[in-house]
Symmetry: C2
Subunit: 390 residues, 2 copies
């Protein structure tokens, strides 16, 4: 049966959100009518629709490996009036199906839309496709977008370690701030490739655990004493005793800056040279850091959404179920919006918080390997050339 | 004749500075005695020498593709007492040759060392190998390290454009701050891959030209009006009417933060949503962004330094002379420290400042190509699906 499928993207983009969109479109466009909606829920409320002509389908397909959300995504508050307008607009264009690619906020909005459609006796099939860099979306082992962001952070930390070690005589403490408002998945990923004691992260701070200032300062002191430097990684959503209240912008908390607060305090308390650096948008948009597994899974959730559409599923999000980590094997499945929402924002489980190695076993297949670096050349190797005397 | 070659690295590291070191070492270690010095001039002054045993040579060789300076570099003021100690230490270990891989500061220090050695009738061959991410080193068409940093900035700007365009309904102005204290080579590289009007950078600010605030605000206004967003790139060393004095740390200006000042002003003056982002250390350490040409040239300057050592050259820096851009062809040469220093910190020439396309023709072979992205999907494509009526 030919359906009229409306497709959109919502929330913060990832470097592989277009891969999900394109795989879905490729599966659908020959047998169904497609309509694209611009800018997520804003577009649904304002009827910013694009007819899925062949020309537009080709244009969308060309975005397969392009970061960002090519239909526009963004953050738009989905209150009842938005949901109700979206529903009316979908009815007006006789949509049979709505697919949105998004995270927690998207799944909540889809659930509201599903309810609204039922209340108004509109026959609307509603499907969610998971994406998030933060990995805080429940109901799935993990979400596309996370693996590539984690790879960016792990490789960046590994590379910056070597830069910091080089600058031993000039710079002592470097604090990297990662994305992750509520969960530490990304910050914790920074240690994935760590191999040598001289390399950081020597301390990782995640939102799940409030920073113990004394502990942090003592790690810094010990590491600077031993190695001449230390690399610390903090999640943007981390709290500590010195936390100031976060600025609000557009009704939404704009984080970013906790590392600067920590820098100022460490500087003052330990009298060391400290640099704070916020790892920016590259975490979610750096095309050269896309993880192969992440990309493949972004494609697969799109493919599977097409299957669910054809099988008349509704009220569901595509989920990834992990069968095994070594060898890495997953299968696609679905979960109801209700169950996704019931789980709330997914934090790191206790076992991963307290056993980093367990987390890295879980994480490693999503991120992939990195070229091995040799151990740093250190002070212990200083000697006067053997054949000469000073 | 077997020489005793002392080798070190100085200044801020790059992602290919070890490639120069390793190629030099590979050419020398079989026929000469090698000694490595840790942490640049600090190590010369403090006699932090490592005997170039086969084990250490192997360890150094393993750093060929590792970012950072594996011998330690850093910033160390090279006053007369440092120069004089360095000279004594080199004499004590009976060094015949000193090779330092570095930038402007390094070449100045090498010149002082050369003078000091001559004054004390020490027979010391002194060779400089160029490296800088800023490209502000004179006497050479460009320096290894710059091409990879430029690639990081060009690709990051291209990727972030797509992220920003996605967030049209949420975020309007993004200001990226690049490295570049005195010269705009890196900031200007941000536009290398720009292809579509919707994409930034819509304005690039370089240290060579003071920002005209009115002009900047008018570009932002026009671009936000037309596209819904704008991406601005500023060099860390840029000045504008609102410039505050920069903080000093360790006797050296620590820049970084001009984008935040500009953000605050733009926000206030235009009442737009503005985000500033400092592109951090990844500019000089991101291993995945190494430009193939940059890497090759880093190897070649090392190889050529070995040749110059064997040919008894002294008081000279290796330089890259460009024969042609299309096809790209260079040859290695040398230039005296005196002439390098006489040129001072190299700014962008007027022709590149005022004709961006000329600059990109010059830059393109150093950075290499990027995968083509299609034109963004825009508001002009919004329509009500043709077969339905609202």
């Amino acid at each position: 049966m030919q359906k009229h499928v409306v497709i959109g993207q919502a929330g913060g983009p990832t470097s592989v959100i277009n891969a999900s969109l394109v795989s879905l479109v490729k599966k659908l466009y020959k047998s169904h009518k497609l309509t694209f909606v611009l800018n997520g829920y804003e577009g649904l409320a304002k009827a910013s629709f694009i007819d899925g002509s062949l020309a537009i389908v080709e244009k969308v397909k060309a975005h397969e490996k392009v970061p960002g959300a090519c239909l526009g995504s963004g953050r738009f508050p989905t209150d009842q009036s938005v949901i109700s307008k979206a529903c009316k607009n979908l009815k007006a264009i006789k949509a049979t199906t709505l697919v949105m690619i998004g995270g927690n906020g998207t799944m909540e909005a889809l659930q509201l839309l599903d309810n609204e459609a039922q209340k108004n006796q509109i026959n609307l099939q509603v499907i969610g496709v998971p994406k998030t860099v933060d990995n805080d979306l429940g109901g799935t082992d993990h979400s596309p977008g996370f693996g590539s962001a984690a790879r960016y952070i792990a490789q960046t930390t590994k590379d910056m370690n070597r830069d910091l070690i080089s600058m031993n005589n000039f710079e002592q403490v470097r604090i990297l701030e990662t994305m992750g408002r509520n969960a530490g998945w990304l910050a914790a990923a920074s240690g994935l490739y760590r191999k040598f004691e001289e390399e950081g992260p020597h301390y990782i701070a995640v939102p799940e655990i409030k920073i113990k200032t004394d502990q942090l300062l003592s790690v810094i002191n010990r590491s600077v004493e031993k190695h001449g430097h230390t690399l610390i990684v903090v999640s943007e959503g981390v709290t500590w005793e010195g936390s100031e209240s976060f600025k609000k912008e557009n009704g939404r908390e704009v984080l970013g800056g906790i590392s600067n607060q920590i820098r100022n305090s460490v500087k003052q308390m330990l009298n060391l040279s400290v640099r704070a650096e916020i790892l920016g948008m590259n975490q979610r948009s750096a095309s050269l850091y896309v993880s192969e597994t992440d990309y493949q899974e972004a494609v697969e959730v799109g493919n599977y959404a097409a299957k669910v559409i054809d099988a008349d599923g509704t009220g569901q999000m595509i989920s990834i179920e992990r069968i095994s980590s070594f060898p890495y094997h997953v299968k696609m499945d679905t979960i109801s919006f209700k169950n996704v929402i019931a789980e709330g924002e997914r934090k790191m489980p206790t076992v991963f918080l307290h056993n980093r190695e367990e987390y890295y076993k879980w994480l490693s297949p999503l991120v992939g390997p990195s070229i091995a670096y040799p151990s740093p050349i250190g002070k212990e190797e200083i000697n006067v050339p053997s054949t000469y005397q000073l």
